[in-house]
Amino acid sequence: SESDQKANTYIVYMGDLPKGDFSASSLHTSMLQQVGSRASESLIRSYKRSFNGFVAKLTEEERKKLASMEGVVSVFPNEKKKLH
């Protein structure tokens, strides 16, 4: 459906940094390619200094596939919080 094709921004949280050498952008790009996303366009940011994860534009189908992938803790929408 049209809503399934619409890409929204999601955070893919993957927990602690992997041990040893680790190329975040390669790993995250590869994961996006595995779910069929046009990785170079959809990857917005990688987290790689203190924990592992990334931000990407995903369709609903891609979100579901990523959420079930090995190494993923959670996938949740990039919403806005407010100053208190």
Partner: protein
């Protein structure tokens, strides 16, 4: 701030660990800072702490110094709004305010047009500040919040302050809880604001047990602005009015009598002075009485010289407005209304605000979000309370006092309210505690702040611990708490196992492939070594018994004997076993169990406490029993 620290018993001359304080780095995740503010001057500061691994992003006229040692901005959508600066420079004011509250330098004679005058200072004036600008005029995206956490942790900050939130979310679907978890893992305490959605229950946000959740309380300084009528009567309203009107009296009109009928507005709309509803011809040069608290922009746009607002929403704090204004309760507002209706040519004047002493302070302000915690009901949130009402601190010269259209007042110090303001008080206090105890874990610092907090009373805070947590923060006492309830990553993982998080998730989160939720590693919420005790039941007739297992670490006198004193919540019995703890060394840990049994009264918070007392230190934890909705 010019009053709150003194009010908390934290005077300017308080004992300091000067060397360690200058090595403390406070990470501020906020709207940036105004680097030229006197609060952030680096005069007399030595070189950067060697542990600092961060950087200073310096586009658009922003430079760091030995006080502001790092600065970065995050805007993952790249969409800069009008007036926004693509720089760590603060164009909102909020970030400068919070940073100076936590760690601003001493600045004498800081004031807002003479109001709140005094020496502005943060808790740790000698500490360094690292700025992570994540909030913009449209809000704070979770992608940017996580990016800032990712950097701040790796950069080597000691404490993170984040006065931002949304609804309470599952721990690993909430950027702040995730960031705070990895901070904790790296020895960094995250101090969070609890939110401004009070006084409704279950509104508290940022509820992860590894972060410190802060409610907002009043201080003993109130700002009031008087409206004087021509019949010699005067009424004091809550407002920060910096304006001095130059006539003795002005015509006074009621918003409901001056509707902008040409645009189709009725008196039912104009009485609330909603946008576009006032007739400019009838309002020009008058003071307008409006039946609701609003920003004041509509009376200003319509040409009014001032506005008097009335309702009963927020009578425990003072707002600023872009024109002369005051805000009355319904009784006084009704008298002003009657005066207008019974006088042929009603006139009035609004005076500049004055300061009065609030003898009731501190109490939790109405807007401060309340528990219970909607994610884990038996973790009491908020954790504690700090000043968050009418706080004067540094501001940005890129905005005005209110930020509203028509406001031309550009100021270096401003007075605002929010749990955003209470959070950096707790951040600063945590940094102060850490400067004396550099090796303490985030949980130990949090425990020290909670168990030494001054008890508050349900007599003026109906929601009791759901409003104030453990009580009002006391930074001086927190340096020497006697005992601490310590916890580390493994303890939180056990807690998360008990909350139903999967092996797979927890292995990833910890980075430890051996981590798993076995029977021995599957802790109930009541076994997390938390410095407060919460016991919920599902109905008012249900009898509940909970056993809380706790361990305290001796950080006071090497040889000491602590005795337990218990106040049970109404309808409950509390048994502590053992009731005496004999320590023989610093760092020694002793375990005990607290059994709480009874039936909770419906619709109220049953308050009790456990105090461990060795005659020198009183280590106090609240015990709260309630019926969960």
């Amino acid at each position: 701030t010019t009053r709150s620290w003194d009010f908390m018993g934290f005077p300017q001359g308080v004992r300091r660990a000067a060397g360690p304080e200058s090595d403390i780095i406070v990470g501020m995740l906020d709207t940036g800072v105004w680097p030229e503010s006197e609060s952030f001057s680096d005069e007399g500061f030595g070189p950067l702490p060697s542990k600092w691994k961060g950087s200073c992003q310096s586009p658009a006229n922003f430079t760091c110094n030995n006080k502001i040692i790092g600065a970065k901005y995050y805007k993952s959508d790249g969409d800069f709004g009008q007036g926004e600066i693509d720089s760590p420079r603060d164009s909102e004011g909020h970030g400068s305010h919070t940073a100076s509250t936590a760690a601003g330098r001493l600045v004498s004679d800081a004031n807002l047009f003479g109001l709140g005058s005094g020496t502005a200072r943060g808790a740790v004036p000698g500490a360094r500040i690292a700025v992570y600008k994540i909030c913009w005029s449209g809000g704070c995206s979770e992608a940017d919040i996580l990016a800032a956490f990712d950097d701040a942790i790796a950069d080597g900050v000691d404490i993170i302050s984040l006065s931002v939130g949304g609804g309470a979310l599952d721990y690993f679907e909430d950027s702040i809880a995730i960031g705070a978890f990895h901070s904790m893992k790296n020895g960094i305490l995250t101090s969070n604001s609890g939110g401004n959605s009070g006084p409704d229950p279950e509104t508290i946000s940022n509820v992860s047990p590894w972060s410190l959740t802060v409610a907002a309380s009043t201080i003993d300084r109130k700002f009031v602005a008087k409206v004087k009528l021509d019949n010699s009567k005067a009424y004091e309203g809550m407002a920060i009015n910096t304006f001095i009107l130059n006539q003795s009296m002005y015509p006074l009109v009621y918003g409901g009598d001056v509707p902008n009928t040409r645009q189709g507005f009725t008196r039912e709309e104009s009485r609330y002075c909603i946008f576009g509803s006032l007739d400019k011809t009838l309002v020009n040069g008058t003071i307008v009485l409006c039946d609701a608290l609003a920003t004041g922009e509509e009376p200003l746009n319509a040409g009014a010289v001032g506005t008097v607002m009335q309702d009963d929403r927020y009578l425990d704090l003072a707002f600023s407005f872009p024109l002369p204004a005051t805000y009355l309760n319904l009784s006084d507002g009704g008298e002003v209304y009657n005066y207008i209706n019974t006088t042929s040519e009603p006139t009035a004047i609004i005076e500049k605000s004055t300061e009065i002493k609030d003898e009731l302070a501190p109490f939790v302000v109405s807007f401060s979000s309340r528990g219970p915690n909607t994610i884990t009901s038996d973790i009491l949130k908020p954790d504690l309370t700090a000043p968050g009402v009418d706080i004067l601190a540094a501001w940005s010269l890129a905005t005005t006092v209110t930020g509203d259209e028509g406001d031309t007042r550009v100021v270096p110090y401003n007075i605002i309210s929010g749990t955003s303001m209470s959070c950096p008080h707790a951040t600063g206090a945590a940094a102060y505690v850490k400067s004396f105890n550099p090796t303490w874990s985030p949980a130990a610092i949090k425990s020290a702040l909670m168990t030494t907090a001054s008890p508050m009373t349900a007599a003026i805070n109906n929601d009791a611990e759901f409003a104030y947590g453990a009580g009002h923060i006391d930074p001086v006492k927190a340096v020497n708490p006697g005992l601490v309830y310590d916890a580390g990553e493994a303890d939180y993982v056990k807690f998360l196992c008990g909350q139903g998080y999967s092996d797979k998730s927890l292995r990833l989160v910890t980075g430890d492939n051996s981590s798993f939720c076995s029977e021995s590693n599957n802790a109930t919420v009541w076994d997390l070594n938390y410095p407060s005790f919460a016991i919920s039941s599902s109905s008012k007739t249900e009898s509940v018994t909970r056993v809380f297992h706790r361990t305290v670490t001796n950080v006071g006198s090497p040889v000491s004997v602590y005795k337990a004193t218990v106040v049970a919540p109404p309808g409950f019995t509390v048994v502590v076993e053992p009731s005496v703890l004999s320590f023989k060394a610093m760092g020694q840990k002793l375990a005990f169990a607290v059994t709480v049994s009874g039936v909770a009264a419906s619709g109220s918070v049953g308050s009790g406490s456990l105090v461990w007392d060795d005659g020198v230190s009183q280590v106090r934890s609240p015990i709260v029993a309630f019926v969960a909705s």
